[in-house]
Symmetry: C2
Subunit: 316 residues, 2 copies
């Protein structure tokens, strides 16, 4: 990009739309948040994404990069199925591009976060990586030989639906014993409430550790499930590094210590890869959406300076 | 390769060394088998591999391709650790090459079989594939975006050590509940004997299906474990095709039917990829070792005619 170019990123989530304009160094110039109008249907969501992107777009903006959850085709820019957003077969990138006179890309939110980790985070320069995003649900970006794995239908990385306990807890997906039914923030809160606790988010369960037996038990089961799924992924793919990202990483060592212990304990015959918490926080998706847009529309190397940022700002 | 060129392949197994010379069309010209002298130590194994390759090498032989189990570095040609062979840090490719005046490559046996499936088998032209080799143990070759996954330490594909049952059967690897502890031929035979049955191989267990309750139970548990591990691999990697290879595939529909049922039953939210039995039989490793040698030493495209073989011969 030239000296004064910028890129706009939009992270379309189930409750919030986050957006930012980044300068040519990856520095944050301006940010914006608005609620996702899920109840008002697909046209309202498209309008809200367009409004967020449009409000941040300047004459020097070279591209807009959107990321979204669900079954997303990053080549065509179509959201095929995103149940949390109520979207099915929506050509989101094209719809936004027709309103703004700027090229627009679309990427899956977890793969966008994974791209940001690969360029800017702990995974920079590493070819064999697993990035697990722990939020309301659980999903992962898988990197082999330096490339993000998409899979046959573009739905690789459904780490949350690894079955870890035979005949275990029912999962929203229809299976039983999925890691997401134990280790996701949504599952932890639901299970803690069912056990008589009070929690609005995973942080409320963490706050009760050591003082409420049900919190200890449910958290331990969640971390055990997560650690077992990491064992599985490691024996299959031989990761060099595992990065944990998403809102639940605020739990810090309450998350890292039991997961590292379960991972190493489940790998009797080989060493465990190191496990780190992402340095990008909740901004990984936004940075990744911006990188994806620039990779698509700007010459290679345009983001070469981004990794020199000593400390990445957290957006939001 | 020119009209009269040939390639020699050697499959170094824990009990048998199989070798073949293939012509420029991938046709089998000559084969050879000898016992692996595991008890006599590494020098005797190197000598046996050299003798097998040497006996088949002709003036028109362009390269020798070896495949072996364990932790194998296909770039350096070193077997780092192969417990079944008693090998540790043996520069096998170089040792054989010094004796024969022909270039020699080394590849992991399962990744060699996977390469053969990709070029010559059901997986030809498919980019997202899992090839599970079911023998005394269980391991897999993983293909994403058309490339075989090696992993950080070259030990990706340890499918046999996916933990499928928490606190399940002890596995030789030191973990518990590994798929290999239920679904490998070795485990099936051991478990059937412990239940009072008589079996020398998995085929003897299959022969008792429908007439001996213990055989039915142990086989069903094995297929259930295998199906569950395939669920896990599919949610992580979104395979387009799963190929089952190795000695146990002789079980045919006794293998395919329960595995397909468990796989689809464990994927409530998506369709299951098709599961097929390899058409290459026990020869997949040999064909893959030959392809790897030609890929390394001969110009690209030298094996372009191989896939035209209508029916591949089975070696051995």
């Amino acid at each position: 990009m030239d000296q004064h170019a910028s890129v706009v990123a939009v992270d379309l989530g189930g409750t919030t739309i986050k957006a930012a304009r980044l300068d040519r160094q990856g520095g944050v110039e301006e940010t914006l948040r608005l609620p996702t109008p899920v109840q008002q249907g697909p046209p309202a969501i498209i309008d809200a994404v367009t409004a967020a992107a449009g409000a941040l777009t300047r004459v020097d903006t070279k591209a807009v990069g959107i990321c979204a959850p669900g079954l997303v085709n990053s080549t065509t820019g179509i959201v095929h199925f995103a149940p949390n957003l109520g979207l099915r077969d929506v050509a989101l990138a094209r719809a936004v591009q027709e309103q703004l006179a700027v090229p627009v890309t679309l990427q899956h939110d977890v793969r966008a976060a994974c791209l940001a980790e690969l360029r800017l985070g702990h995974a920079a320069g590493i070819d064999e990586v697993l990035v697990v995003v722990l939020g309301t649900g659980v999903a992962a970006g898988i990197v082999t030989a330096g490339k993000i794995v998409h899979g046959a239908q573009g739905i690789a990385g459904e780490f949350g639906h690894i079955p870890v306990f035979a005949d275990g807890e029912p999962c929203a997906c229809g299976q039983r014993g999925c890691v997401e039914a134990y280790a996701a923030a949504g599952a932890l809160v639901r299970r803690y409430r069912e056990a008589g606790g009070t929690a609005d988010g995973a942080a409320d369960v963490v706050a009760q550790l050591g003082s409420h037996e049900a919190a200890d038990r449910i958290w331990t089961e969640g971390m055990n499930a997560l650690g077992r799924a990491l064992v599985t992924s490691t024996v299959l793919l031989d990761h060099q590094l595992i990065v944990l990202a998403g809102g639940m990483t605020g739990a810090g060592n309450h998350l890292l210590e039991p997961v590292r212990r379960t991972l190493q304990g489940g790998l009797a015959w080989r060493s465990a890869p190191p496990v780190h918490i992402s340095a990008l926080g909740a901004s990984a998706g936004l940075f990744g959406a911006a990188l994806h847009a620039l990779d698509t529309f700007e010459p290679a190397g345009s983001t070469e300076h981004w990794h020199r940022l000593a400390a990445l700002p957290r957006i939001s």
